[in-house]
């Protein structure tokens, strides 16, 4: 790994970690904070966003923060979002953040020690772009021990989204996680949920898509985020509801179509491949249509011929000669039946 760039020097950190503490209480972010305290680069701050919590629960978070050593705890702030759920964690987080970038962490999840470091290295050469680390996921069970959370892994870590960021896939409802992304804060200032929804997954999807298309995406190439999936809790890898996505997609596309957008690396090749496929499909459809028209013409001709033949048979059966020769046809049939068999 390259050398860690020095801090910019404006007193603002490179990165703000937004810890969305929306389930499990303070105990669910204890290991998250521990992993942040172990970072190899200290150019970051932490904002713990406590959703739907009263003063007592916020106090639990503050006590937890104070239990860490001072050099770390002074860089951690606890922000209450009220207990009515009216404030979006992302809006509040961006408002409170001072970092050039913001990155979301969920409770129970942990980051690797070079999480900030790898963002810093990528940021040094990619000003203003979304920085994307690879996210590993792992299933865990949890148990409670004297009010604390104890984790036990069920399987090994897996990287469900190892490839480069797929902006077109996101547009087509293949949701990757917001975790692992460091998003320029400037791209999110003034952000509010545009979709009229409190669905965090949908909001994440909208933020990822909007920021990626506004800023472009650079890969750090490092696995630095471990998403710990517990039971059937909210999982960003699950498909979104089709109707909600359709509505959200229309809103986002409408917004983004009013300005220039930036495509992540590799998007042009994907677009070209899709254009080639579209062209080939159009040619194939044209060919199939021609075959279909030809078959339809033949079918029409056969139907017409059948109708002609039926009409001729009816005309023949209705003729005077056919009616007059009826006794002769009956006699002939009887003669064939009476003829001795050999």
């Amino acid at each position: 790994m390259s050398e860690i760039p020095p801090p910019v020097g404006d007193g603002k950190p490179l990165l703000t970690a937004l810890v969305r503490a929306r389930r499990g209480g303070a105990v669910a972010v204890a290991e998250t904070l521990l992993s942040l305290a172990a970072q190899t680069s200290q150019d970051f701050e932490v904002v713990v966003l406590v959703d739907k919590a009263g003063d007592a629960e916020i106090g639990d978070f503050e006590d937890l923060v104070e239990s860490f050593e001072g050099a770390f705890s002074v860089r951690v702030r606890v922000v209450g979002l009220g207990d009515d759920g009216s404030r979006s964690p992302m809006s509040a987080g961006v408002e409170a953040a001072q970092g050039t970038f913001v990155s979301v962490i969920d409770p129970d999840d942990v980051v690797f020690a070079h999480w900030v470091e790898s963002f810093a290295i990528a940021a040094a050469n990619n000003d203003g772009r979304v920085l994307r680390a690879t996210v590993a996921t792992q299933h865990f069970s949890i148990s409670s021990d004297r009010g604390r959370r104890a984790y036990t892994s069920i399987d090994r870590p897996r990287c469900l989204w190892p490839g480069p960021f797929d902006v077109l896939g996101h547009l087509d409802n293949t949701p990757g996680p917001i975790f692992g992304l460091a998003i320029p804060r400037s791209a999110l200032v003034g952000w509010c949920p545009p979709l009229g929804t409190s669905d965090l997954q949908l909001e994440d999807w909208a933020i990822v898509l909007t920021s990626a298309l506004s800023c472009g995406v650079t890969e750090t190439g490092e696995v630095t985020y471990l998403r710990r999936l517990i039971g059937d809790e909210w999982d960003s890898s699950k498909p979104l509801d089709d109707a909600s996505v359709d509505e959200a997609r229309r809103t986002i596309v409408s917004r983004l179509d009013q300005r220039d957008v930036t495509m992540p690396a590799g998007t042009l090749q994907t677009l070209k491949t899709q254009a080639d496929e579209n062209r080939a499909l159009r040619t194939e459809v044209g060919s199939l249509r021609a075959e279909l028209d030809q078959a339809k013409g033949e079918s029409d001709r056969l139907v017409s011929s059948r109708a002609d033949a039926s009409r001729q048979v009816e005309e023949m059966r209705g003729s005077a000669s056919w009616r007059l020769s009826k006794p002769v046809r009956i006699a002939g049939r009887l003669a064939r039946q009476l003829r001795p068999r050999r």
């Binding site: 521990l34 070079h114 021990d145 984790y151 399987d155 490092e222 471990l226």
Partner: protein
């Protein structure tokens, strides 16, 4: 990275932890991770069990088991958290350097030998030689060379009262990195 919830307390025979007014827990466990030198110094007499021959791996297990062989107890604190950084590749597999591969293999053989489990030494050696890893082969060769010249550590726990082997591990693991 292993966010291990681990043990880290040395208990005396009377159940009290030195330096603490009351012991935090009374649950005993079979091993703890890490062996701070001050604890090592505190546990007088452990050096008599033989010089430490572990590097990078198994020093903590060796320390724990020697502690128990010396009549002390090791206390399990399940909610203590220790951050142990690892790196994953894009398949989600732990990236291990050559040194880690070599020393973990060497320590596994040494641990089995030291705890009087020649059957595990034989089985482990055979298994390591079939992986195709040069580091594993070198670890087996090194072990056998030491054995041939009598440079292996003194064997302990002849009755198997302390040592525990769970597959190739020394306790059931709470944090897995492989599909085993």
């Amino acid at each position: 990275m292993a966010l291990a919830t681990v043990t880290l307390a040395g208990g005396c025979d009377d159940g009290k932890v030195p330096g603490l007014a009351t012991p935090p827990l009374s649950v005993q466990t079979i091993l703890h991770q890490n062996s701070p030198s001050d604890l090592d110094r505190f546990l007088h007499g452990l050096a008599a069990a033989g010089p430490q021959r572990f590097f990078l791996y198994c020093a903590d297990v060796d320390f724990s088991w020697r502690t128990r062989l010396a009549g002390r107890r090791v206390i399990y604190e399940p909610t203590a958290c220790v951050f142990h950084d690892k790196r994953l590749d894009r398949d989600g597999q732990v990236q291990a350097g050559d040194a880690e591969v070599y020393y973990s293999a060497e320590a596994a053989l040494m641990m089995a030998w030291k705890c009087s489990r020649p059957d595990l030494v034989d089985r482990g050696s055979e298994g390591l030689l079939t992986t195709g890893s040069p580091a594993h082969t070198r670890a087996v060769e090194t072990f056998r060379q030491r054995q041939a010249v009598g440079r292996l550590p003194k064997q302990l726990d002849l009755q198997g009262n302390v040592a525990q082997f769970v597959g190739y591990a020394y306790a059931p693991h709470r944090f897995a990195f492989n599909d085993e």
